[in-house]
């Protein structure tokens, strides 16, 4: 947090350095940073909060008529998934229909400074894959059925409930049309990998500038060691689990008997 404020202060001090009154360029540029570029999953990991902040650097006074839009997205690694729907068969509820989705982000958060439809037009969303719906590629579903959109809606609904997909319209706070900040909550059930953070600046719904950076999410320490062992040396891991289980069981019962005298 302190580091974040420090960087914010630095961003502000940079601003007056812009060549005032230089050639009138309509370009606006995003200068942004994150409170952390690395998230470590430890044994005590309960989720994390990432602060995205920055400023808009301008060569000219901002246009008066065009509304300014800021959209911050953070995306986890994408992976193929299956969405299943239950139906009643012979009196009980069983998984009946399934739709395979080629690529869905394991985490996706969108924060904006205003309602999405006011600051982003459809074609720009298609080009940059900004909205949650666009971030899920559904074109190559292996079992195309007319109700595939329903499955994708269900996927978004379930992951929003789990805090894995977030839509925070108005979550980006803009000050003096220049400084912005937003914070994104990362839940504890994060998938490891490289997360991408993007900041979009729009005018009249069109993307004017994009800032991109990466966040590394990794298990560390014991967590890392256990996970690697389980996947790289499964037999040794399995044997070790059994030995540890026996020692833990034995140890706990001996300790208990000792305590009882």
């Amino acid at each position: 947090m302190i580091r974040a404020l420090l960087l914010l202060a630095m961003a502000i001090t940079i601003l007056p350095l812009r060549p005032i009154g230089a050639q009138a360029e309509p370009e606006e540029e995003i200068i942004a940073d994150l409170s952390q570029n690395h998230v470590a999953i430890t044994t005590r990991f309960i989720g994390s909060e990432i602060l995205v902040f920055g400023a808009i650097r301008r060569e000219a006074p901002p246009p008066e008529d065009a509304p300014l839009g800021l959209i911050v997205t953070i995306a986890g690694p994408s992976e193929p998934i299956v969405v299943r729907r239950k139906a009643r068969r012979a009196g009980i509820w069983v998984n009946a229909d399934a739709v395979h989705i080629d690529s869905a982000p394991s985490f996706y958060a969108v924060s904006t400074n205003a309602p999405m439809r006011e600051i982003l037009i459809g074609s720009e969303d298609l080009a940059h894959n900004i909205s949650i719906r666009q971030a899920i590629t559904s074109f190559w579903t292996t079992q195309l059925s007319p109700d595939t959109p329903e499955f994708i809606e269900a996927l978004i609904r379930l992951r929003r409930k789990a805090g894995l997909y977030q839509m925070n319209e108005g979550g980006v706070r803009l000050r003096a049309k220049t400084l912005f900040r937003t914070s994104v909550r990362l839940p504890s059930n994060l998938v490891e990998g490289t997360y991408s953070a993007r900041v979009f600046l729009t005018r009249k719904g069109r993307v004017v500038d994009v800032y991109k950076t990466a966040i590394e999410v990794n298990k560390v320490g014991v967590e890392r060691w256990i996970f690697n062992l389980a996947h790289q040396r499964p037999l040794i891991y399995g044997l070790l689990s059994i030995v540890i289980a026996i020692i833990a069981g034995w140890g706990a019962s001996s300790a208990f008997r000792y305590l009882r005298g």
């Binding site: 005590r44 193929p80 299943r84 994060l190 389980a230 499964p234």
Partner: protein, 306 residues
């Protein structure tokens, strides 16, 4: 106190897990059962992915049966020969069960199979146990009644006979192999030890004397559960060491307290309580299958354990 489980990939309250292990340990200490049939569904309820719950459940069973087996070996109440035959069947069953588990996970029907198995087995066993203990209570009021063992059935007509000295039996190896295999499959699919099905089968089907039944079944369970843990670890990468240790520590402490309570209650009362408990778990799962679920959709990731 939150703790991040490296394989389940979620953060859970460590005290909740200790408590869960403790309550199941308490019940298993009271009733002398492994408690796997309770711990696995409870893990589902708190949000542990089913593959991790089942695989870790088998790991926990190894630990909870270990000291019990040592005690039975010391008391010489284990029929090692019968145990080995049951074990041979059990290993084959477990290998088959783990493959079946992996296949059904892929096609998205594993939850259904696990739930149906629970409803089926718990329903039948709970009902039989309840009937049996009610009858035993009536019998206790009528003195002079003696149950007879060693009645000749179709089992004695099967080939491949073998002598089991400690059990005082001369029977075909086919029934014990089948009993062992059934328990092995259940262990892999349901994350249970299978004592609740093996003990009645040994008494009523094989006609083994009660004094060697528990030790022999524990002997088989410990090896089959150990083998199942290894198979899950190498096939599905779904054994969570951290989760297992928390459950075990809670379970052992609970079991010690439970054993103390158990000695103060009458055997028939205990069995009726256990039967009611089994039926309650069965009913809870059955209702979940029959009622329309609140959420019809579910997501499964194609790679990774969960």
């Amino acid at each position: 106190m939150q703790v991040y489980l490296p394989i389940a990939e979620i953060s859970v309250n460590a005290l909740l897990l200790l408590g869960l292990g403790g309550i199941v340990g308490l019940l298993s200490g009271m009733f002398g059962v492994g408690g796997g049939f309770l711990i696995t569904p409870l893990l589902f309820f708190i949000g542990i992915p089913p593959p991790v719950a089942v695989a870790t459940g088998t790991n926990q069973i190894v630990a909870s049966s270990f000291s019990a087996v040592l005690a039975h070996l010391k008391k010489r109440s284990v029929d090692l020969r019968m145990g080995s035959v049951l074990l041979a069947g059990g290993l084959a069953g477990a290998a088959l069960g783990v493959q079946l588990f992996a296949y059904l996970s892929r096609i998205g029907q594993i939850d259904l199979l696990v739930q149906l198995s629970y409803v089926g087995f718990l329903g039948v066993i709970g009902f039989l146990m309840l009937m049996e203990s009610l009858r035993a209570m009536q019998r206790a009021r009528k003195p002079g009644y003696r149950a007879k063992r060693h009645h000749h059935t179709w089992i004695h007509a099967l080939p491949l006979k073998m002598k089991f000295r400690r059990s005082g039996l001369y029977i075909s190896v086919i029934p014990p192999l089948l009993v062992g295999a059934t328990v092995g499959v259940l262990s892999a699919i349901m994350g249970v030890g299978g004592g609740f099905i093996m003990v009645p089968a040994m008494i009523y089907l094989l006609g083994m004397p009660t004094k060697v039944v528990v030790g022999t079944s524990l002997f088989q369970i410990i090896f089959v559960s150990g083998f199942t843990t290894l198979m899950h670890a190498t096939t599905n990468y779904s054994v969570d060491m951290v989760l297992a240790v928390l459950l075990i520590v809670g379970g052992v402490i609970g079991a010690q307290i439970g054993a103390g309570i158990g000695t103060r209650l009458k055997a028939e009362q205990l069995r009726i309580l256990l039967a009611l408990l089994v039926l309650a778990v069965c009913a809870k799962i059955a209702i979940g299958l029959v009622l329309e679920p609140e959420e019809l959709y579910s997501i499964s990731r194609l790679k990774g354990g969960a």
